[in-house]
Amino acid sequence: MKQELGWEPKLLGFLCRWCSYAGADLAGISRKKYPANIEVIRVPCSGRVDPLFIIKALRLGFDGVLVSGCYPGDCHYQTGNYRARRRMAITKKFLEYIGIEPQRIQASWVSASEGGKFAEVVTAVTKELKEIEHNQLFADEK
């Protein structure tokens, strides 16, 4: 099914409120240019993101899910991002094995001062999502 030209991927971002959310704020304040495909859900920590959220987002029609948290060591809750790292590692590998395009699940470390990096990450992710086609995984549902 040739998708229409003007198709824009829908990206869901889980941003940890202590670092990545602040980073995204900074990107906005300093007028950084980045595509508006991302919709943000603020989470207390990247460790809060449950694989169920990811697969549910894909089911609802998002083309990609970005989970972004603090750099290892900066976590406000000490170990939240370490746990998120392990969980994301096995979730990403397992969902690839099931048959979900790897580009659909993205993770990144963005600290509160890296407005620029956040913009880069979102641009890069959107570019990758544009290369692969629209999310057809659960297409036969209403």
Partner: protein, 321 residues
Amino acid sequence: MKNNEIQQRLRQEAKTLLEQGQVEYIVGYETGSLKFTTTPLLTKNKDDTDRLIVNPFIVNNLSVYLTEIKGKVGIVAKGCDSRSVVSLIQDNKIAREDIVIMGIPCPGLIDLKKVELLLSKDRDELGNITRDEDRVVITIDGKGRDFPITEVLFDNCLECQIPTPQEYDILLGEPTTPISGNVSKRTNIKELEATPREERWNFWKEEFSRCIRCYACRNVCPACFCQRCFVEESEPQWILPTPKWQDNLIFQVIRNIHVAGRCTDCGECERVCPMNIPLRSLTRKMYEIVDELFQYKAGMDKNALPLLTAYEPTEAEDFIR
């Protein structure tokens, strides 16, 4: 030591455990009500210990009952079962002192579905199945036919690296070595990884449109011990209890992520599935992911932290931008 010697010793040990009051329950296997089947035996009465058996069909992972039984339990455990017991100890679901593990070095168990496929005959039409070392003799209406053992063993037994229980109080018989040089038939992880992404997704979509959500895979698994499973949540209702393929697929994916680092690849989920969905192709893959990424094998060390609660300063972060 031959099977019936191990069996005698097991019965003896179990009876003394009950008599001395070291345990209140004995959990073991007894002959099943159908041909070549065994069934779990849970008893407090020491006379029942005479019904305990050890043969190549003791397939159930008995540690699933440990989270249910209150009090001290003597459990018969093969290699994978004893690792499940350790995994439960790691998760503080049971205390090591409440459990007396009667370890059985496992020579590998015979998969009746493979035998039926091999002879295209049903289980109850077979005369007898006897095993000696690496051959198996199956008699059908009088005629005995002989096969190499690797033709009929479970896939997980063929790939099992740790057949002898690591954690035990009594070891019945000498430690055995893993079966070498074998290719598992039904679990096709390699083939699936080779097929293109689209086909893999459709393969699982096809398989899970058959699932009737009987939850046998979840209820037989010792690693699945939640009081209330996320499937039974209604606020928020993440997935529907109706067996739509989307909900079945998400249920199985999330279940595998939840048991990551707890699953000891005992193969029970695939064996009990009445719709014969190749579930081990999922659980074995998760087992390998966990081993490859974190060099973690479930239930090896009872003091180790469970997989997803521990972390290393630097590990597996190539995919993070």
